[in-house]
Amino acid sequence: MTSTWISRMIIFITLAFLIGPFFIIVAAGLSAGDFLAFPPEGLSLKWYIKVFEVESFRESFALSMFLAVFGTITALFLGVPAAYALSRYNIPYGETIKTVVAAPIIVPGIIVGLALLRYLVVPLNLTITLALFLAHTALVLPYAVRVVSSSLNNLRSDMEEAAVLLGCSRIGAFIRVVLPNIQSGVLAAFILGFVTSFNQVPVSLFLSGPGVRTLPIDMLSYMEITYDPSVAALSALLALMSVIIIFVAEKFLGFSRYV
């Protein structure tokens, strides 16, 4: 009996730490007061409404959306063929390539951000938007390669040979047989990439500049000046967005199989 009680406690504490902050943020955003505080002073929706009225939030939201969508699509255009080549052909130094591709997951974002700024953005004089776009593509690429690789590994290669013997070219077999059978893996990679890019902080912190910021960076700098509950309200909305995306993905794709 005691062991059941202890394991229940552990589960409860784990959930409290995982989900607790989410409730605190939702509640803090509902405050009627003017400062970020918990428990909230009174109840009101005014900060949830204010989020949509702050112009810089609207701009940075649009930028973050742009980076998450197009950065991930670009990463998939690079990552799907890369994953295919790595899983189908005996490429020299294939394992090394896999490690290098996975580097942005292993190396801390601060270092990636600093290195990109110092050795790519400054010497080449890239615009902020372009630098952010390249960085987010690079950050999402490892996820694209990994998730697509795992669904390619489940696909037998003799299916492509069968297609070739029925008259397909190699590329034709890839388009007609491989792609349709890995499409849920590609979609899963897109969602994972989107969420990763959208919530990315350390790299964007280095690369953001005057007037061009991703949403998380914009929220940080907003908080440095204005300590009101709107940031809590915005965080709650973003968390809700992620939850909905993952929930839908799990329901329709069995997302957890790929990650």
Binding site: R156, D158, M159, E161, A162, A163, V164, L165, L166, G167, C168, S169, G172, R176, V177, P180, N181
Partner: protein
């Protein structure tokens, strides 16, 4: 041999530096049913893949119906292959699996419908046209895979261990089925097997292979009653 339809001359095959088949000569007559028989690692599957064009020749040449095919890519050879794992397309239903090659060859829609209908009827699957392969039994998948190759009217049909994934009862049924299809279509068939009784029961002639060379080539009767080597005799005594 002047009447040979599929001809392998002095063919050597290698994986990197490992030689799998060396200096192989083989002549198959039109409409013949040939078995490539031997233990695993003897080079029989490698030889079949080379005929299909899935593997390039280290040396020698392969010709079909008098035309040199040594450098022709696999998708232009007009050869059918029934894979051991069937290699059906899981995203397409039975009809579309069979129609796949016909669509690549740009046949008209009514022509495709006719041919697929004929193909499915030939293997007794016309009632399952809407089924996905993974909703079919092993025997049905096998027959679907056969139909998918047959509708292309290939010059040669290759079969990789066509019966090995089936249970004993289905294996007998499929044997009869293969012989019937061969009789009806008159198609030249080459099948790979490690099962001597299968080769004896099905083939017109048997190519017994060992370590990448032909150990003996002859009719089932030849091989059974007049084994050329101790290996051949030993291989048959098991069955």
């Amino acid at each position: 041999m002047s009447n040979s339809f599929v001809s392998l001359q002095n063919v050597s095959l290698a994986y990197g530096k490992t030689v799998a088949v060396s200096n192989l000569d083989l002549n198959v007559r039109k409409g013949e049913l040939i078995a490539l028989l031997g233990p695993s690692g003897c080079g029989k599957t490698t030889t079949m893949r080379a005929i299909a064009g899935l593997m390039s020749l280290h040396s020698g040449s392969i010709s079909i119906d008098g035309v040199d095919m040594s450098r022709t890519p696999a998708n232009k050879r007009g050869i059918g292959l029934v894979f051991q794992s069937y290699a059906l397309f899981p995203h397409l239903n039975a009809f579309e699996n069979v129609a796949f090659g016909l669509r690549i060859k740009k046949f008209s829609t009514p022509e495709i419908a006719t041919r697929v209908g004929k193909g499915l009827t030939m293997v007794g699957l016309s009632h399952l046209a809407e089924r996905k392969p993974q909703e079919m039994s092993g025997g049905q998948q096998q027959r679907l895979s056969l139909a998918r190759s047959l509708v292309m009217e290939p010059k040669v049909l290759l079969l990789d261990e066509p019966l090995s994934n089936l249970d004993a009862r289905l294996r007998l049924e499929m044997r009869t089925e293969l012989q019937r299809v061969q009789r009806d279509t008159g198609i030249t068939m080459i099948f790979v097997t490690h099962d001597q009784s299968e080769a004896l029961a099905l083939a017109d002639r048997i190519v017994l292979m060992k370590n990448g060379v032909i150990e003996q080539l002859g009719t089932p009767d030849d091989l059974y009653n007049r084994p050329a080597t101790a290996f051949a005799a030993d291989f048959y005594s098991v069955g």
